[in-house]
Assembly symmetry: C2
Homo-oligomer: 496 residues x 2
Amino acid sequence: MQFDRIRLSALHQKVMSAEQATDFIKDGMTVGMSGFTRAGEAKAVPQALAHKAKTQPLKISLMTGASLGNDLDKALTEAGVLARRMPFQVDSTLRKAINNGEVMFIDQHLSETVEQLRNHQLKLPDIAVIEAVAITEQGHIVPSTSVGNSASFAIFAKQVIVEINTSHRADLEGLHDVYIPTYRPSRTPLPLVKVDDRIGSAAIPIDPAKIVAIVFTEQPDSYSTVSVPDEETQAIASHLVRFFEQEVQAGNLAKNLGPLQAGIGNIANAVMMGLLHSSFEHLTMYSEVLQDSTFDLFDAGKLDFASGSSITLSERRNAEVFSQLEKYKNKLVLRPQEISNHPELVRRLGIIAINTALEFDLYGNVNSTHVCGTQMMNGIGGSGDFARNAHLAIFVTKSIAKNGAISSVVPMVSHVDHTEHDVDILVTEQGLADLRGLAPRERAKVIIEHCVHPDYKAQLQDYFDRACHKGGHTPHLLAEAFSWHLRLEQLGSMKR
Amino acid sequence: MQFDRIRLSALHQKVMSAEQATDFIKDGMTVGMSGFTRAGEAKAVPQALAHKAKTQPLKISLMTGASLGNDLDKALTEAGVLARRMPFQVDSTLRKAINNGEVMFIDQHLSETVEQLRNHQLKLPDIAVIEAVAITEQGHIVPSTSVGNSASFAIFAKQVIVEINTSHRADLEGLHDVYIPTYRPSRTPLPLVKVDDRIGSAAIPIDPAKIVAIVFTEQPDSYSTVSVPDEETQAIASHLVRFFEQEVQAGNLAKNLGPLQAGIGNIANAVMMGLLHSSFEHLTMYSEVLQDSTFDLFDAGKLDFASGSSITLSERRNAEVFSQLEKYKNKLVLRPQEISNHPELVRRLGIIAINTALEFDLYGNVNSTHVCGTQMMNGIGGSGDFARNAHLAIFVTKSIAKNGAISSVVPMVSHVDHTEHDVDILVTEQGLADLRGLAPRERAKVIIEHCVHPDYKAQLQDYFDRACHKGGHTPHLLAEAFSWHLRLEQLGSMKR
């Protein structure tokens, strides 16, 4: 154990095993844990908690930043620990329990959870479990590879368990910028005006007396599951790069585009990779998760600065990046997700937001969360925080899935996460639809022309024509609006 | 003509008839006009334009603040002047043309139109037509009963026509606070931190050389169509007042609640009227339209200050209020709708947002715009600007319509304007559903218990039970999700 990581020596006596620390977590409690997009989650304590729950009743309401790594949501679900879970997850075992109605999942805009806690909209956490690289002389907590909701959880909770993870370099310290908005009714403007502004503190300021346990661990973060761009995701990237070039040429976008946000996952990562071979320079990011593409863009000299809430890398890039942290450190900042995703800042900075759609419809409504309107995938994440206030709200997806049995472009989405009012640009490997300033009927035309897979083009055109015949500002045939989804459920394919 | 209302005498030569002024508006132009919720719209020029279009080809793209009074949208539609219209309307003739696909209507969040113009997302207006009470010594325009988008339209347009309306008191001057956000990438925080802060100028600052015509008119604003609260809307108000009282008692809300926003129309107006007989004092409003209820609350000594973008009163209240303007003037401010509805400010101030739903569903999704998913009513207006970032996002509606043939609570809304992620509280005359922190299945239970009309309770419970049997995080039966709407279309009632 590296006691030098606990610089307030009075706290040395709080060091204990993860098993011992779980004694502070009682049945029925609301627990706030660190962790955002598989980065910086507390590891030893939740694992010990899952183990303990096998022998005694232990159900909690668990809130995190976003998704956890190391199969923690799986272990907690299998042990029956989770009564409630918010605001995001990506685990297949937990997902099954959510869809069976066994775990109550509250799917939230990632910027809003701590605001709702602060304003008594949600029950405050009884206890927080926060991964750290160190505790300062003041007893403040230095986060690791994510900030997420950790700062507010630790501030709100009556008790805090700190997991010091020695697999992370101690010099992650200095990477973080912890800013907490002032309370209403006297809240002041968030003072951030540039992506690289630092407006907060390097550690989470709490009263060290609240730290009831310190656990050492050396278990690393999980790698991201992002894969190498394929033909379709590269095509999506090319369409978007060409669009950006045209917008710059027309004088509508700055030469460096403006701050970029990219959602988690393969497609958004591929789009950012596409900028590697573009003519754009001095790019900046104001995003939530920083993935492989961020560091590839740094290495290519394309990217000047990246602000995020977490760093989540593939096996390929993880060791490379963290072994050369000094190379990147002055170009990086990690912020609370409330700040990385804050609508005030998204609007002020003029962010170009690139997020993944599960499906979108004729009129530009986007479903990010529910398969066939019922089965939760992961959650809305930060996509709504960004899309609503972005300079450009862009959604990307492959035009088909499951070997063509599913069209990602449908007559009507089976669940709406982003309404027609919030979507500017849609891109599939087929092409790009620019919906700005268009009425619904006009949007339908450009979506059919540019985004739909050829296998579904005639079928969608037919629906649109017949719906227009019936009339309306947003023409639909309600009796058929979900016929594609129903055909998929019944016959295994949306194809007619 | 009152030439003293044009204090820059060099502009006196620009005075002309409305007919002459229309010569500046050419076929194919994009025109920005003043007007927000039937208040402060340019009147003489659009009327002359409609007249002129009877004899010569004249089609324009028209953008305003929100709705126009004096049947202007009707006249312009009947004359075939409108090719495109944004961002809101309430006229039945225009509505019909929109739903027939004859006028392309772009239904936008009211805070976003000028932001999209500023950022080259929409075509800039070629010309602006702005109602004013005066032109200052500097040639700046003093708006009348609304600010809406007038300031940015006048700033963006190459030419400006000013309509000086002498039916408005000249001492409306001083009521307005015109603030224009600075340009990206160096935009600074909006400096407003309290509802009564003044951060801008009293008039719209433009180069007077852009003023190509000044037209005098004395046609008054239309009265609002708001009606006296009825039994149902009073019941909605009582449920909400009781909820506020409980929240204050629990320490979750301040004693004066925090800044209130109320959408336009009877129900929101009735809710505000409900506060008249409550125990709350020192209320404030940070809203878009200030209706009768605002002034009733002032008169009752309940309301300390109201910020809006327009004043729209019923016949009952109009003369009373404007004849005693001095009584209210220091408690009022009118701002550009970008500022009255700005997400940065809505979030900072912690607004309680009360807006009307057309229908909502089992899981808390709200439809504000489309009858049976296809026919546009008015538009989303500012409801999305407020609901997304509000401290409390409240939607109100009567539980049934058309003598019970329509249930406002349905299995799945036929159009989504506000997603489940953005809706905190739902109220009908039946009761109030508090959705905060609940998973979809839990929301369904409280909505069925508290909001649905007894005539539809069993029917909705039956849908929910069978949907749960099928499973999913958000249980639905896609084959039946719109069966209520289809039954209404086919049999004239949603009742089974």
